[in-house]
C-alpha cells in the first residue's frame, strides 16, 4: 500500500513515525514521510528529518523523505489525492496534564477533508 505519513515535530508525530515504520517493515508498505511545518512543535523540520533517518536506518527500511511547505493539512490532503496515495497517517494527538487526548489542527483538517483513509496513531 502507498502510505503518506505526515509529521511535524510534536511528540505524537515521533510516536506515529516509529509505529508506521514498524508496520511498513512488516507489510512492505511503500512509505513516504512528509515533514510539515508545525509552529506548535517542539522540534525543527531538520531535527525531525534526523529522527526519521535514524529510525529508518535502525529498521533497515527505505522510504522517501520530503519537506512540505505551506499549510500542512491542506498540502497533505492534496499530495495524497493527486499522487495516488491510499492512506494518510498522522500522530494521534497530544495529551493534556489530566490525560485528555487533544487532536491538533492539522489532524482535524485532514480528517474532515481527506477523501483517502486517515489513520491516527495511538
Amino acid at each position: 500500500m502507498k502510505v503518506l505519513l505526515g509529521i511535524g515535530g510534536a511528540d505524537d508525530s515521533i510516536k506515529a513515525l516509529q509505529k508506521t515504520i514498524d508496520r511498513a517493515t512488516a507489510t512492505n508498505d511503500e512509505l513516504t514521510v512528509a515533514i510539515v511545518e508545525n509552529p506548535n512543535a517542539d522540534r525543527t523540520p531538520n531535527e525531525v528529518e534526523d529522527a526519521v533517518q535514524k529510525y529508518l536506518d535502525e529498521a533497515k527500511l527505505s522510504a522517501t523523505i520530503r519537506h512540505v511547505e505551506g499549510d500542512p493539512g491542506s498540502r497533505l490532503v492534496d499530495i495524497a489525492e493527486t499522487e495516488g496515495y491510499e492512506e494518510i497517517v498522522l500522530g494521534g494527538g497530544q495529551t493534556s496534564p489530566m490525560g485528555k487526548i487533544q487532536i491538533g489542527q492539522i489532524a482535524e483538517f485532514v480528517l474532515l477533508n481527506s477523501h483517502k483513509t486517515v489513520t491516527l496513531v495511538r
Binding site: N40, S96, M98, G99, Q102, E108
Partner: protein, 181 residues
C-alpha cells in the same frame, strides 16, 4: 501544552471549601470531602470508574480498563493535584480534580450516571474551586466537547469563560486569585 492561555481578569467566587454536606434534588444526603490519600478513598474511586458508563467518557478519560484506570488515578491523585470526592454514604457518586499545568491547573469533573441531573455537579465543582482557592490556585482551565451543553452551562454558571473556540473542543478558563503585582 504550554502555550499561552487567556484567563478572565475578574476573580470568581468565593466558593465554599470542603468538607461540606448537602441534599441533592432527589433527597439524597451527599458529602463532599477532599481526597485524603488513603487506600480506602482510592479504592472507592476505582470502583466509581469501573461503574462509569463508557458513553460518558470524554477525550479518552476515564480510561476503560481497571489497569488503565489505576495508572490514570495514580497521576491525578498525586501530591501536587487537588481532588474532591462526592459521597453517597460509602459510594463515590462524583469526583473532581485539579492537575497542575505550569502556573495554572487543568480541571475535570465526573459524575456517575445514577447521580447525574441532581445538582451534584454544581456542588462538586464549586467545592473543588473553593478547595483550589484555599490552596492558592490562581488560574484554572478545562476543555469540553462543544456539543455537551449541560457541562458548558455548568461551567459558565460558576464563572468559566470561553478562552479558545478554535479547536475540536471548547476551552474555558476561570480566575480564582489575582496575579501577583
Amino acid at each position: 501544552m504550554s502555550r499561552d492561555r487567556r484567563y478572565p481578569e475578574e476573580v470568581s467566587g468565593p466558593f465554599e471549601s470542603p468538607p461540606l454536606s448537602f441534599i441533592d434534588r432527589t433527597d439524597r444526603e451527599m458529602k463532599l470531602t477532599p481526597y485524603d490519600g488513603s487506600k480506602e478513598d482510592k479504592e472507592a474511586l476505582v470502583q466509581m470508574y469501573l461503574d462509569f458508563d463508557p458513553s460518558d467518557r470524554a477525550q479518552g478519560i476515564p480510561p476503560g480498563q481497571e489497569s488503565r484506570i489505576r495508572t490514570w488515578l495514580d497521576t491525578i491523585l498525586s501530591d501536587e493535584c487537588l481532588n474532591v470526592i462526592a459521597w453517597d454514604d460509602q459510594t463515590v457518586a462524583g469526583h473532581a480534580t485539579l492537575v497542575p499545568d505550569g502556573d495554572a491547573y487543568e480541571l475535570a469533573i465526573f459524575v456517575l450516571q445514577a447521580y447525574q441531573e441532581a445538582g451534584i455537579g454544581t456542588y462538586l465543582i464549586k467545592s473543588l474551586l473553593g478547595y483550589g482557592a484555599a490552596n492558592d490556585v490562581r488560574k484554572v482551565w478545562l476543555t469540553v466537547e462543544r456539543w455537551n451543553r449541560p457541562a458548558v452551562g455548568l461551567y459558565k454558571k460558576v464563572g468559566f469563560e470561553t478562552s479558545n473556540a478554535e479547536s475540536f473542543e471548547l476551552e474555558m478558563a476561570i480566575r480564582l486569585h489575582k496575579d501577583p503585582t
